[in-house]
Symmetry: C2
Subunit: 333 residues, 2 copies
């Protein structure tokens, strides 16, 4: 008998197939091939093929030259435009505004063939510093209500270039999905005077069965009601609502645990396509006692079909207790 499980934060129900649980080898995999350098605009030496750099951490060279370790540029094909007013207006019975926002690319390394699972911890730490620096710069622009940091790896996960990169999108509205999560956490806080994510971290640490790993600063776990097989969350143990306020030791600890988690995922699932998304509080809010920033990693192993579109209900063929165990085992030897 499959199980219906309720996500404690959003209230979303998920169908977990407990009988014929799918193991890593059961997923039809389109492994993301180890990349081969070509005429990639993100390669070192091709700096003139991207829009001018917004930020770079450099060993040598100057602006838009080689010698950088991490480089941030505007997306050449942005989904939102940086200039202009929102111009909120009605259109008949509907509502619209101009698509004002920022869309940036964080080029994680000059090494075209690298991946988060084989970069050094220090290199990943610099990527996280670039995330932090860009959010803190952009949030000064009061038009931006939410800043999303995310990564698509592999064509199946929506990536159009294979050179390791993440993305940032600054939005003039707080998206519905984020509002739902933050509001649900607020309700829990009013009820219990505790952060629900802090509760989850403590509870999962005591139960252990969905735990992938724990360090002094971070907990990596499979959530109780995951939408997708091998969905994995990385949460800081110390309560904080905004990623961009993370201090140096936190970013250092995050880099290390992100790398080890990506290495487990790449090993267990043979370099799957994946998305990851930083969940953080709306940038114009003061620190919130009820919200807790974290990273959600979604390997792209299944297809979303009519049932999911119609219901917002997900069918997950791998219980999180199984996926956590596979990832723990992938971390050994």
């Amino acid at each position: 008998m499959p199980e219906l499980r309720k996500d404690p934060i959003t209230g979303r129900w998920v169908i977990i197939a407990t009988d014929r649980a799918k193991r890593p080898a059961d997923f039809i995999r389109q492994p993301v091939p180890a990349a081969t350098p070509g005429h990639c605009p993100f390669d070192s030496g091709n700096e003139n093929k991207t829009p001018p750099e917004i930020l770079a951490y450099r060993t040598s060279g100057s602006r838009d030259q080689a010698g950088w370790r991490v480089r941030v540029v505007a997306n050449k094909f942005p989904v939102l435009g940086i200039e202009g007013d929102l111009n909120r207006q009605g259109e008949g019975m509907y509502d619209k505004m101009n698509g004002v926002g920022a869309h940036e690319i964080i080029i994680e390394t000059p090494d075209h063939a690298a991946s988060l699972s084989d970069m050094s911890d220090g290199q990943i730490e610099e990527v996280l510093w670039a995330f932090r620096d860009r959010v803190n710069d952009l949030k000064k622009d009061r038009r931006f209500r939410y800043i999303l940091l995310f990564k698509n790896r592999g064509e199946a996960a929506g990536a159009s270039l294979e050179h390791p990169h993440s993305q940032l999108i600054a939005l003039p509205v707080v998206p519905k999905r984020v509002l739902e999560e933050v509001d649900a956490c607020k309700q829990f806080y009013y009820l219990k005077e505790r952060c629900i994510f802090c509760d989850i971290i403590r509870y999962e640490s005591s139960v252990g069965v969905r735990l992938v790993t724990e360090t002094d600063r971070f907990t990596v776990l499979a959530p109780y009601a995951p939408r997708f097989p091998f969905e994995t969350w990385i949460l800081p143990k110390h309560h904080a609502s905004h990623f961009e306020d993370a201090d140096a030791p936190t970013l250092k600890g995050f880099a290390s645990v992100l790398r080890s988690t990506m290495r487990k995922i790449d090993k267990a699932l043979e370099r799957p396509a994946y998305n990851f998304v930083v969940h953080s509080a709306p940038v114009q809010e003061a620190p919130l006692p009820h919200y807790h920033w974290h990273l959600e990693i979604i390997p792209k192993l299944t297809k979303v079909a009519g049932f999911e579109w119609g219901t917002g209900f997900y069918i997950n063929p791998t219980p999180p207790e199984e996926s956590a165990r596979f990832l723990r085992e992938a971390g050994m030897g």
Copy 2:
């Protein structure tokens, strides 16, 4: 400058690319190949390869023999089990229940190579009668709170078999996505004492720009804030909250407009993979003045990536005014 548009029902914002709008030819297409019959369990003569039939409309033969025109069977690999109690319970800080429900397959025709765009109106009408009959039968089981009718065509849309078929899933809870839609409609009704879908039908008919077609009983349109390119809705003009209450003339009109719409989509986009979902009120509710059943068709042309997962915000490269025009033109000649 792209445009941010708000869906009037759910409040979800969508980014519409208005500058470099994508035309049908711009989508990387994996056309669903015209099917070739093989050892398909849904073919006529292979009735013993499926679970026993639950319903069939027949010209000849008896149960589980050839001679049927439309046939409904249990899914051989159901996501939910039909037997047993819900057994709602806590698990530590979480909530779960047994995955009790029904999962059925509506085999739309014995013709393996057919599709909704080349079936006769009469054949499609019988498919819709099978939808109706199955929902009305299953809703007698008071454990079921919601019954979803949907179709996945093509591997990219999550279909595992190519023989024309739709699916039904009966659920012991009303899914979050459905509750959100119904509740939002209720709020609009309290405010205006009108159904928002009735408003949309009238408004779109008067504006015309997002209209695909209108018949005496149905309106086909591209919604103002579509999540996906070429997203298309079919709405009955006469207010009704439950699909399964539709009368014979309504089903006849629905069949005709569904066929002509699928034909336009297949012509404009060269037989794309797609999902469709019947949006209907929770089955145990009495007729609702604020909710309006309809069909949502989503051609599978783009990939959902980190941005969408993180925000519930969608980026749509084709304005609905364009997609409606392409579909109108596909209907000519």
